[in-house]
């Protein structure tokens, strides 16, 4: 498939939901509105683009900016051998975004990781719980305002009743 075809189609179809399209180092990147994520992803998942694989899902903290958290999604199409990066920004006061777990099963743990490390809530996630840190851990350690030297007490092991 030719380059730019995906982004051109997206621009034509979801013109008001797409903020920006760029090609850093030749990678197609789409900057979208937050509420259109599920819609755009389900469109991309179908033929002819067939982005059936969610490679990665992560978050970046741009502390000090107005829309502080940036969600980044990497998609891969096995049929077309094409990659696509989708980005969207979240405001700190309203940290909520649609979950992609109903579409890609592997989004489950990736979203749990982002919730653990950044505190982003995923609407429609079946089991949103900390993945890496333990229950009783306070705060979200990959945020830029988490103190570097902060140590939290060790929680004793739970006994089965």
């Amino acid at each position: 498939m030719e380059k730019k075809k995906v982004t051109d189609t997206l621009k034509a179809k979801f013109s008001e939901k797409i903020k920006e399209v760029s090609f850093p180092l030749g990678d197609e990147t789409v900057f979208i509105e937050r509420d259109a994520l599920r819609e755009i992803c389900s469109f991309l998942m179908k033929e002819p683009f067939a982005f059936t694989m969610l490679l990665d899902l992560t978050c970046v903290d741009y502390a000090g900016e107005n829309e502080r958290f940036e969600m980044v999604y990497h998609l891969y199409s096995i049929v077309n051998k094409a990659r696509l990066r989708i980005k969207t920004r979240l405001n700190e006061k309203d940290l909520e975004i649609e979950s992609l777990t109903p579409m890609w099963k592997n989004a489950n743990w990736l979203e749990r990781e982002v919730f653990d490390m950044f505190g982003v809530h995923f609407e429609g996630h079946p089991y949103l719980r900390r993945l890496f840190m333990y229950e009783g851990f306070e705060g979200h350690p990959l945020r830029k305002d988490y103190p570097l030297r902060k140590r939290q007490p060790i929680i004793p092991m739970k006994r089965k009743e």
Partner: protein, 157 residues
């Protein structure tokens, strides 16, 4: 006079027996485990020092070797396993991460396992060479030989 002599000799014999029959429990979580494997296998072979029997149950072990990074989430597990060991018991902490957190000076890693359990011998290195490992075991044996031995019928003061 004679009683004192018997006690001293009994202490010596018990120490001699204990230092050459260390059943160890390997608590291996990270790359130092490779050095543990080298030290345990034929090239360096710490069975020569009577430390050869690996038990995979803490209840039958005399010595726990904590080898590798201990995270905050794992710390209660290590504490529980230490509590499950029968007396007399010793702890060998191996590698920079176990001793002090090492390069992992962050929110997720315990900054030295002596925050959780008492440690007898520290083996530094990132990772320590098998020779260092053997040296640590010999140091532990010296410690066991020279310490006051506990046993069931001992008269308590």
């Amino acid at each position: 006079m004679a009683g004192g002599w018997i006690t001293t000799k009994l202490n010596y014999v018990l120490g001699w027996g204990r230092k050459f029959s260390l059943f160890h429990y390997p608590f291996i979580t990270a790359c130092c485990g490779m050095e543990y494997m080298s030290a345990a296998c034929a090239h360096w072979d710490f069975d020569r020092f009577g430390c050869g029997l690996t038990t995979f149950s803490p209840r039958q072990a005399d010595l726990i070797m904590v080898v590798g990074t201990i995270s905050q989430k794992e710390a209660p597990v290590l504490k529980t396993i230490y509590d499950q060991m029968c007396e007399p018991k010793w702890v060998l902490a191996v590698g920079a991460c176990t001793l002090s957190g090492g390069i992992y000076d962050n929110y997720a890693v315990v900054q030295g396992i002596d925050n959780i359990i008492p440690v007898d011998v520290y083996i530094p290195g990132c990772p320590p060479r098998p020779e260092t490992f053997l040296d640590g075991i010999v140091k532990l044996q010296q410690k066991i030989q020279n310490q006051e031995q506990e046993f069931r019928w001992k008269r308590r003061k």
